[in-house]
Symmetry: C2
Subunit: 471 residues, 2 copies
């Protein structure tokens, strides 16, 4: 009995030691850099990790800093005590961003699209990307271009899924945001060595960059001339005209259409906001030049990635030449990341991100409308509902910006009034419009939006004779 | 005896089972996505991985493709059978790049700096970087700029270690390669709204981009006017002059100095090649505008990252405005990666990368000189040795390019002769010089360089009356 028990015990011990040796060896090898340990995941192949583990641990260490939910620690942040510091939201401070700064101004100024940040935190695993030290060191891809073919395919797939642009028969170019592509397009559409430079125009109110770029780069071939209305009856006699058409429009969210038509008129369609987050998609854009940006689609403004759909080969070639001589194309690191982000979107036909974006924007507009509903002093733009082929229903637009009007006779400078109430935004004159208007950004972080609503509530509550429904 | 043996055996078994359970639980948790397994490394904190493991496995899967040592598989390559395909070196083909293409031309054309790729493969662990899905989505850093402060610090540290530029008292700006910064500098130095546009000049032979950019962007404020020599005695009477000074020079490796001096002369120093890979570093550059690029330092041409050191605040502000209106700064993804690469270099004072680069270039120049030593038909540029404060010795330069001269009277077009011998390069006229010269790139991959030597050997061996030393 004791003998057989001893034998069984010894056998068990031998097996157990073998298993221990197996695990132990794996752990030892792993600790020493060459991970022999096999790890599996539903999506990834069964494989061990070797050189990428350290970078992964660094990224997770930075991400693990919670910053009280009112800030972010980034891998490339300033390092204190061996870890990147918390970078706090507006109105929060302290080493862990837990300190609320009650006297600070609500930031509704720039178009930072951080309303989509929670989406990417929810999709951490599928959206992360590892860049190897030797990733794409060359100036060009193997086809001698500076454009990733896989990324181009994903973009075509995306437009086809969303139904917001026809890409068949169009060339695609990448730029450092739509910013670079806008000027590349202006350059490509301007006459060369003509005594009569082209006139660039945009309907008021318009995005300030159009004018700032054209004036600052000061090409001999093009000058900015303001509103297109003045050229409506003279398009054939005044040389080439380049019209910027922004749909939905920044600042007011309207689905603008071209004002000018004729043989001398060329049009650049800026469709940065033509996504289900912000508007119904009545039909796919099918234009000579259409410009999009990842900034207002995925929220990655910092990545500087945009693309243009171009019908005409000569215009494509000339825009391409601009991009080569300006920056030699878009960073391959950026293209790699954009590809990863687009794959997450395309995987489920965009369903998750557009529902997230649409719901977030709808909630924000509901809160904003409710807040201002009791006011006689401030009004919001009215944008008519449009049919959305993507969500298959008619829907109210949920524009990226509120275009606020100060209704009182004496409130001639709306942004000054808002600033005095500790709200940052952009005055109407920035968009070449009346200063009775101001733009407030609704696409920033939750912290910024909450603060905006809080400041607006307080401003409205101080109105004399606020509407009866408040009581 | 049997009893105590049985007891010891049981105790051992219990211990062993506990150890098994510990290892097994770790492995189980790891397999199910939430890596509970603690992994340690000398540099990283002890921590588990969660969301980054899948991306790490994907990157390692792509990198694991060997492509026979004559190609590379990238994470964003075209996918066939679930894996990115091999992209083969010039002169190699087939699905795994094992097929040598004997009739193909040696590529010594572009400045693709792949001679440094093996360095980064050797430093895979320290140079990899993980980009989280929510990394830096904003337009700006928390200080409202588009420039990473950590990256700026690393750059200053690097110049101080290498001794190739004084950064104290200088502003730093980032650009999409030196390409973007060159034009930003031209724009910043040009007069605004003057009736007399600036003249941009560069000593022959010069890098073609200077002229191509200035002419293509066609600013009303500046025009390209070729060689500075023609303005040597007229710098005060002809309006502003902007001189590009390239040191070491592209194509010929000479440490150029400014030709023009005077109150109306402004200088842009292009120091892309001022690193110990290519030249001795006699003293630190201390100039009004000095431009560098990661492309010729780390070999990451595809990342599009360069920087400028600027003395004057007004010039800095105007260049910054250019960069904002052109691209809104450099992609944050690129800045993150550049930071990681620079950290690897700075960590050991640059010792490893510069020794790697210098040794590689020295070996290549030795092979090239030996190959052409038997030729009466082709000669190489002579660049005098300079003192190198970095390596603390006098050394021969090892320029990035061979500037080959065809010596025979009838060989008026050198690049045509090289092309006929299946060698790709750039003719002298591309650099505004005599076509009796041609530029051959010596900084491409090992495969490209080996093929170049092979083609040159064959070309030289066919010469009538090759030098006696060949026999």
């Amino acid at each position: 009995m004791a003998r057989s028990e001893g034998l069984i015990c010894k056998l068990c011990l031998v097996c157990s030691v073998i298993v221990n040796l197996f695990f132990g060896l794996n752990l030892y090898v792993g600790r020493h850099g060459v991970w022999g340990w096999k790890w599996s995941s539903d999506e990834a192949n069964v494989r061990g990790l070797s050189w990428s583990g350290k970078a992964a641990a660094e990224a997770e260490s930075a991400a693990a800093q919670e910053c009280s939910g009112h800030g972010r620690a980034y891998l490339d942040g300033v390092v204190v005590d061996g870890r990147p510091v918390c970078e706090c939201s507006t109105c929060y401070g302290g080493p862990d961003c837990s300190l609320f700064l009650p006297s600070c101004s609500a930031n509704a100024d720039g178009g930072d699209p951080l309303f989509l940040e929670p989406f990417w935190k929810q999709h951490a695993e599928s959206s992360a990307v590892v860049v190897a030290g030797w990733h794409r060191m060359s100036y060009s891809f193997s086809d001698e271009t500076t454009l990733s073919k896989e990324l181009e395919s994903q973009l075509r797939r995306l437009h086809s899924l969303v139904g917001n642009a026809i890409t068949d028969g169009k060339y695609i170019l990448f730029g450092a945001g739509s910013t670079q592509l806008l000027n590349a397009a202006v350059h490509a559409l301007s006459p060369h060595n003509s005594s009569l430079p082209a006139k660039a125009v945009a309907s008021i109110p318009y995005y300030a960059l159009y004018q700032a770029q054209t004036e600052f780069f000061d090409s001999a071939d093009c000058s900015f001339q303001g509103d297109p209305a003045q050229w409506k009856n003279a398009t054939n006699t005044t040389g080439d005209i380049i019209e910027f058409v922004t749909a939905p429009n920044n600042p007011n969210g309207h689905l603008n259409e071209a004002v000018l038509h004729g043989p001398n008129v060329k049009t650049i369609h800026d469709r940065a906001y033509y996504w289900p987050h912000f508007t119904g998609i009545p039909s796919p854009a099918d234009e000579d030049i259409t410009i999009f940006t990842i900034s207002k689609l995925t929220g990655h403004a910092g990545s500087r990635f945009g693309w243009a759909l171009i019908r005409n080969e000569e215009v494509f070639q000339r825009m391409n030449m601009y991009l080569q001589l300006n920056t030699m194309g878009v960073s391959r690191d950026t293209q790699l990341r954009a590809l990863k982000l687009l794959k997450v979107i395309v995987e489920d036909g965009g369903r998750e991100i557009f529902e997230f974006g649409y719901k977030t924007m709808t909630k924000r507009w509901d809160r904003l409308r409710k807040t201002l509903s009791v006011s006689n002093r401030f009004s919001l733009q009215k944008v008519p509902p449009v049919n959305c082929t993507y969500f298959q229903k008619a829907r109210d637009p949920t524009p990226a910006y509120a275009w606020v009007k100060c209704e009182r006779e004496e409130d001639r400078n709306c942004i000054e009034i808002l600033n005095a109430a500790k709200i940052l935004g952009r005055g109407g004159s920035v968009f070449h419009d009346d200063d009775r208007y101001a733009r407030l950004s609704l696409i920033r972080s939750n912290d910024d939006f909450d603060m905006l609503i809080s400041r607006l509530e307080s401003l409205v509550s101080r109105e004399d004779g606020v509407k009866i429904m408040q009581s």
